[in-house]
Symmetry: C2
Subunit: 439 residues, 2 copies
């Protein structure tokens, strides 16, 4: 099958270079971090809020080690005040000596902060709801109270010599002036970064770009973004946030989290590779993506979605005849992502009625048979006819090709009329299918 599975690298010379890559960073975005972003991996925090998640200590450690090996910059853990075991697990992961920095995620409250700083984490992510909704229905506090709590918690955490992030929650439904006020306040007292969170998963990309750009003009610290995926924009919003000047993106494996989750690690890798392949490959072991996704999928008992970017079963499968023709000539025609980058292979689906003669010719070559282009077109028509009657598999196609080849190679014994001899193909057909094929 070597012809159908050529590594794309052979053809990379003919793809646009990074200077002319239309999917690369926009030259107009002078604040862009598309080529210099960092990942805050939150499978062990946001992901634990996924409906199916119950991680034992052993599983948490296995996931943390895999993420560290992958190359994520930060690993975020459930608050140590969520439960006693959560606190112990946090301590255990801090003791692993990983390259990634370990964070924990707490409410903006001294009770939580005092416990968090004792766990051994490299930093604390503080969050508080700032929207009218959360202020009314969650904690019931006003912006002055929020600012006072934030200052107290931030100064306490900083006094321990570890990193501190301050994030609003439900940022896009918060009053812009309130938001900018509190971000400027916490920036001045020296947080490492501020966070924007689309907690309800409804922000759209240009809205994200505007808010990040505005915030970037108000604070000096880094900006981190957290996007839920309720309306399917979590990857795009993350990308647009980086264009606007955000530096860090929260992700989780397969996007697991509250409701239908957040920006998925794999999907964001796909997005970022399209924009800056060199940066991503230099930093992250993307060929380990599939293993990590399988590990987490098993831990939370879900299947990898059929349409998952990169690792979905058909992400590199090409079917329509017109696509297959071009892909065979040059994979870059219909692929920007190279399956080889992820330790995967491409597949040309030729056993169906949409197939074209280029794909069939390629299969004929693989079978080490010799047919002219005209003959390939003829056998393709036979395959399409059977494909009209029922779903085909590769054996069906191979049998039709081999019988056709035998017929054209030994003209003396060729039947005078009627269908070509493919009895073992027709055996699978019921009466009505046979009738339709003969029509």
């Amino acid at each position: 099958m070597s012809d159908l599975f050529k590594p794309i690298s052979e053809n990379l010379q003919s793809t646009p270079t990074s200077q002319t890559n239309p999917y690369g960073p926009n030259p107009a975005d002078f604040l862009s971090n598309v080529g210099s972003f960092q990942l805050i991996e939150s499978t062990l925090r946001e992901g634990e809020q996924f409906a199916n998640a119950f991680f034992s200590t052993e599983t948490k450690i296995e996931i943390a080690k895999a993420l560290d090996d992958f190359g994520v910059d930060y690993i975020e853990l459930t608050s140590p005040v969520a439960s006693e075991q959560s606190r112990r697990d946090c301590e255990a992961i801090c003791k692993l000596g990983l390259k990634a920095k370990i964070l924990t995620h707490i409410r903006c409250h001294m009770d939580d902060a005092r416990v968090a700083v004792e766990t051994g984490v490299d930093g604390v992510d503080v969050v508080i709801g700032t929207s009218q909704f959360l202020r009314k229905f969650s904690h019931g506090k006003d912006m002055n109270y929020i600012a006072q709590s934030a200052i107290e918690v931030i100064e306490f955490v900083k006094s321990k010599g570890i990193e501190i992030r301050f994030s609003s929650e439900d940022s896009f439904r918060s009053d812009l002036v309130d938001l900018l006020n509190i971000y400027r306040t916490v920036d001045k007292i020296g947080v490492n970064r501020v966070g924007i969170a689309d907690t309800v998963g409804c922000a759209n990309p240009r809205q994200v770009y505007e808010l990040v750009r505005t915030l970037k003009s108000v604070v000096n610290c880094d900006i981190e973004c957290h996007f839920h995926n309720d309306t399917g924009c979590a990857i795009a919003n993350a990308y647009t946030a980086l264009e606007g000047g955000a530096k860090l993106i929260d992700v989780s494996v397969l996007g697991i989290g509250e409701r239908n989750g957040i920006t998925p690690l794999g999907g964001l890798m796909a997005r970022m590779i399209a924009a800056d392949r060199d940066y991503v490959l230099s930093k992250y072991k993307v060929h380990k993506l599939r293993d990590i996704e399988n590990l987490v999928a098993e831990a939370v008992q879900v299947n990898i979605p059929f349409n998952n970017p990169i690792t979905g079963f058909c992400a590199f499968t090409h079917k329509a005849g017109i696509h297959a023709k071009a892909i065979l000539a040059n994979p870059s025609t219909y692929e920007i992502l190279s399956p080889a980058d992820f330790g995967l292979t491409r597949y040309i689906h030729f056993a169906n009625r949409l197939t074209g003669w280029n794909a069939i010719k390629s299969r004929v070559d693989q079978l080490n048979l010799h047919l002219t282009d005209e003959q390939c077109k003829e056998v393709t028509n036979k395959i399409k006819k059977l494909g009209d009657v029922r779903q085909l598999n590769i054996d069906d196609v191979d049998s039709i090709i081999k019988d056709f080849h035998a017929d054209v190679s030994t003209p003396l014994v060729k039947p005078v009329s009627g269908l070509p001899k493919v009895p073992h193909i027709l055996e699978g057909l019921d009466e009505s299918e046979e009738k339709r094929l003969k029509q």
Copy 2:
């Protein structure tokens, strides 16, 4: 369970109105069609290019009727020249007398056009590759040849009195001047709409916005957009295209199509409802979404992805204590989409170690028991402790609550010391779990 499943409509009064909805159309986009878009549903064309798709005539008709009932504006079918059965199926669907307009999708070639116009379709979607890649490796034609073919095909289709769309393929890797030239040419000879296609699935939202805005200044006809999802941006790109002035979006059920597919119908509905709920609900029967997804998922033998917008099993499940508290007070705190719009219900996940006392209090009320807030906090701590040891189910929590209630209601028989009596809970624990719980 009535308390945990309150319809969101009760609370809609307190959500921002459409004037102040931060997720609504951007007032700066005077060309925006966010509140006036149309759907070209391509499950029976793009979707047939999905690896697993083999639609019998009966299945095609069932899907077409379901989509028509849902309210899609157009239904696009596989080219009648793909195979003889494809042609017959096209004719059969045209004869159903659906409200939706029926389109078929062909190469920019008179051979295809002559067959297409005889099928009874309401319109023909013509496509040709315009990028350097497709011009070199697919059809091998130059832009002059493309323009000549386009004019011939368009005038022929128009002469039959049916709609015609001209689309480039791989638009974002095509030369901008070439693109604008050919779009202006076909606009002048009177196409109904021009199409932009992100064939390789790598465009990003702001890039889409720019191209649509630019094209909108060159042509008078409508703009249709087609986005593949290789880098997870197909929904966001569709939304941003509408903001920029595109009018029609290609979708398929669950996004099925070549590779990992295109903009999914359900995901786009989620996105558009967040922006303009009134428009979407007035036009599309979104409560039938789940049935249509199940129909197509069964036909192509895939599972609904666990993280699917709207219909994923956990799309309306809330878990973390802080989320549950606010959701119980007002669902809009963590939900913009209302599950009731889709015939679905919300679920508060309270049987886990991240639970909070508000969620448990709500469960206590459901069980018709009476505990003070302090007692609810106490029993919550017991539940969190067991949740640290193993995965909980609702029965576990209910047993702990009932035993706790019995203990506090009959103080005379309360055990003097030790754990509360929950023998049937502990039965499920092995020795090591029991030891950890006692610790």
